[in-house]
């Protein structure tokens, strides 16, 4: 029981990170019907941006307080990652809007290869160990031979995720920007007729998704303590799986899917086989798409002839 509780805590932590990335996939798919393949690599890029600014603040500028440093890193990371996503959308996807459907997907795959190799070339191919931080633990429950612990990192991850999701939910539901975004999602042409700048809204969708991915990037760096240029692909696919499982296009679905994928992955590793944990995720992806293509909370797609 204690073991299960511990794995449950770990799974929720991991799932929060996946959920944050999954929102980027689900929003972009919702608005332009495209699988933004480079999103995983934007996330990877954000882990490096977070690492570099953390080192800059703590080593070069000598900021002693970790909380202040992390907060500044979070803001800067969100801004710069968003700028990257904005530039990528502007250069690689916008010229292909209205082209045939595979074109943006191929362009996104090219962008994904470009980004991971850019980081490899500029930052080197090795693992980058991050100085460990926030690793104190609280013992939640003392079992017979197993103590359930909750680390400060995990608390930070879950709290930051919930706080940002609340802000994000407010933006999408209550502001003019969010209304424009939802309108474009329903009918882009009609939204344009009503005076919404569709291109700008789509850019903002990419920016919002990237900002959340940057949060996930910082949390990922803090949680795992190591970043690598190849860390975009697999977390990206897992987050995409989360988006699909929750129902692509649905924002609560993305978070729910993220939590489920995080839990499934952790419990699978804990009880079955750690070697095959990625196989489990990929199988869920395939099974969901084949048998439940609209996901748990998605709207079924109606085919019109």
């Amino acid at each position: 029981m204690e073991y299960f509780l511990q794995q449950f805590i770990n799974g929720v932590t991991l799932g929060s990170i996946y959920g944050l990335i999954a929102i980027g996939y689900t929003m972009v798919f919702g608005i332009i019907g495209m699988v933004n393949f480079a999103h995983g690599d934007v996330f990877m890029l954000s882990t490096f941006i977070a690492l570099i600014f953390l080192l800059l603040l703590t080593q070069v500028l000598g900021i002693g307080s970790l909380a202040v440093a992390l907060f500044i890193v979070l803001i800067l990371g969100m801004l710069l990652t968003s700028l990257w996503a904005w530039a990528i959308e502007r250069l690689a996807y916008r010229p292909l809007r209205g082209s045939f459907r595979l074109a943006p997907l191929i362009s996104a795959i090219g962008m994904s290869i470009f980004l991971s190799n850019l980081v490899q070339v500029t930052q080197g191919p090795r693992n980058k160990p991050v100085p460990s931080m926030l690793s104190d633990v609280i013992t939640v429950r003392e079992g017979a031979n197993y103590a359930v612990t909750l680390s400060y990192k995990q608390i930070l991850i879950v709290v930051v995720t919930i706080a940002l999701l609340a802000v994000f939910w407010y933006v999408v539901q209550k502001t003019a920007l969010g209304r424009a975004q939802r309108a474009c999602e329903q009918d882009r042409r009609m939204a344009a007729l009503l005076g919404i700048d569709v291109d700008r809204t789509i850019s903002l969708t990419f920016v919002l998704g990237a900002a959340l991915a940057a949060v996930a990037g910082l949390l990922f760096m803090v949680y795992y303590g190591v970043v690598h240029f190849n860390d975009g692909f697999v977390p990206g696919i897992k987050a995409f799986t989360a988006a699909v499982l929750g129902g692509i296009g649905s924002l609560p679905g993305a978070v729910l899917g993220g939590l489920l994928i995080g839990l499934i992955e952790t419990l699978w590793s804990a009880y079955f086989s750690i070697d095959y944990k990625d196989v489990a995720t990929f199988s869920i992806l395939a099974i969901t798409l084949i048998f439940l293509p609209s996901g748990l909370l998605g709207k079924p797609e109606v085919e019109k002839v």
Binding site: L55, V60, M111, P129, I290
Partner: protein
């Protein structure tokens, strides 16, 4: 600037406006470059990460972005020449001449390489360029059946390549079979896997199909990594026997190819032989594809690509049609994989990552989906272009001795994919020749061809 005679209400002076725009681009480039380019994380002796500033690179990126944007604005502002739409008619004459010429060059390629670079250099040129490119041409043509003709986007094509390679490795190692027996077996096994993996994904379309095939490709690779007793895991399988020339091995022994014909032994014979084997396999793929296009099943593939619902209402069995496309495409990947295993003599899961699938898909799409010639040109451009970076030793004289051109290989590949896609979304060869026509044969623009939605 030529734009001066077109009044623009926004900008009083177009040059100032262009400069402002370019300055904005440079600022964005600065924002993009600062974290990733300016500071490099390095581990010091105490295994701690420290930052190394490299502001020079940022300067280059910012100035480069400024100049590129200005250049783009000037080009875009120049009055557009209206390009006459190529008159459709007398199609294929140029294409046919080009294809025949290309074929002659390919057949003579080893001789040319030998004549130009001499015996020592020829092995490298035939192996790194000739064989390497031909493998991708063959994979591209095989995938073209699935993506270009049937319109099913398969991002896990490398799985079948892997099945072919591992079939070859395991059959030769465990049962002592020769290359020539394993080659068809590997193709059949890969085709079988094509049916097996194709079956569950039949009802998916477009992006979803692409993602599921990607998932299957990754699952196969993960199984190859983790099923150590059979596949050897990361260590892979080595000592795969090389192909023989009608039973004559290419080695220095008395029964070898060189000794049998009374020639002096060099490794060149094997390389040239392998080149002709892969050339023959690739041409077989091409020939089969061209013939299949004219058969009912080929016409059904193309009809399926255009409109699945119309197909079904005309009584075409879409299940079987899709499965044959999957199986035949997979079979050719199996052939290519078994050739790859025999050529390398060693295989490991490293060779079958998602990147390989992406490369093959890129070749097919950039070549112009469905165009055989376009796929071949794209393979030569993309693979040859990245291979040629290995040969650019002279760049070290410009950028310093620690400049390694090969590490930019995939960086440039990804960038090339994006640029080519934005520049020509319909691929390099953007015309199609319908295999059935009313009255006269003519080429059509590929905008009119279906999108691979099925």
């Amino acid at each position: 600037m030529a734009v001066a005679d077109q009044p623009r209400p926004m900008a009083s002076n177009p040059i100032v406006a262009a400069l402002k725009d370019a300055l904005g681009t440079a600022l964005v480039a600065l924002g993009l470059a600062v974290p990733i380019l300016a500071l490099r994380t390095e581990q010091n002796m105490a295994n701690e990460l420290v930052l190394q500033p490299r502001w020079g690179y940022v300067g280059v990126a910012v100035v480069g972005a400024f100049v590129a944007r200005l250049f783009y604005l000037i080009v875009a502002a120049a009055p557009k020449r209206t390009r006459p739409v190529a008159a459709p008619g007398a199609p294929g004459v140029m294409g046919r001449a080009f294809a025949v010429g290309g074929l002659i060059v390919l057949v003579l390629y080893p001789v040319l390489a030998l004549a130009v670079t001499g015996q020592a250099g020829a092995v490298k040129w035939i192996d790194n360029f000739g064989i390497q490119i031909m493998i991708y041409v063959m994979l591209g043509w095989g995938l073209n059946i699935v993506v270009g003709l049937a319109g099913l986007l398969d991002l896990g094509y490398v799985a079948f390549y892997a099945v072919g390679a591992y079939s070859m490795a395991l059959l030769t190692q465990n049962f002592g079979l020769s290359f020539w027996i394993c080659l068809p077996l590997a193709g059949i096994l890969a085709a079988f896997w094509g049916v097996l993996l194709g079956f569950p994904v039949l009802r998916l379309r477009g992006d979803y199909l692409a993602i599921v095939t990607l998932a299957f490709g990754e699952i196969i690779r993960l199984v190859l990594i983790n099923w150590v007793p059979v596949t050897g895991g990361y260590a892979g399988i080595s000592g795969i026997p090389r192909p023989t020339f009608f039973g004559l091995p290419f080695n220095a022994s008395d029964e070898g190819f060189a000794a049998f014909f009374g020639l002096e032994f060099t490794p060149l014979y094997r390389t040239v032989f392998l080149f002709y084997v892969i050339l023959a396999l690739a041409l077989l793929t091409n020939w089969v594809t061209l013939r299949l296009r004219r058969l009912p099943v080929g016409r059904a593939w193309e009809a399926l690509r255009e409109d699945e619902i119309a197909c079904r209402s005309l009584g075409i069995n879409t299940t079987n049609t899709k499965l044959t496309a999957f199986a035949i495409g997979a079979g050719f990947a199996g052939f290519a994989g078994s050739f790859f295993a025999a050529r390398q003599g060693f295989i490991s899961p490293e060779s079958f990552t998602f990147l390989e699938s992406a490369v093959v898909v890129a070749i097919v799409v950039l070549g112009g989906m469905g165009s055989q010639l376009g796929v071949a040109i794209a393979a030569i451009a993309m693979i040859g272009g990245t291979e040629i970076l290995r040969e650019l030793e002279w760049l070290k004289h410009i950028f310093g001795a620690d400049f390694e051109p090969t590490q930019y290989r995939m960086l440039l590949f990804g960038l090339g994919m994006v640029i080519l896609m934005v520049w020509r979304p319909r691929g390099l060869i953007a015309t199609r020749q319908p295999s059935i026509f009313l009255k006269e044969r003519r080429a059509i623009r590929s905008d009119l061809v279906g999108e691979g939605r099925a």
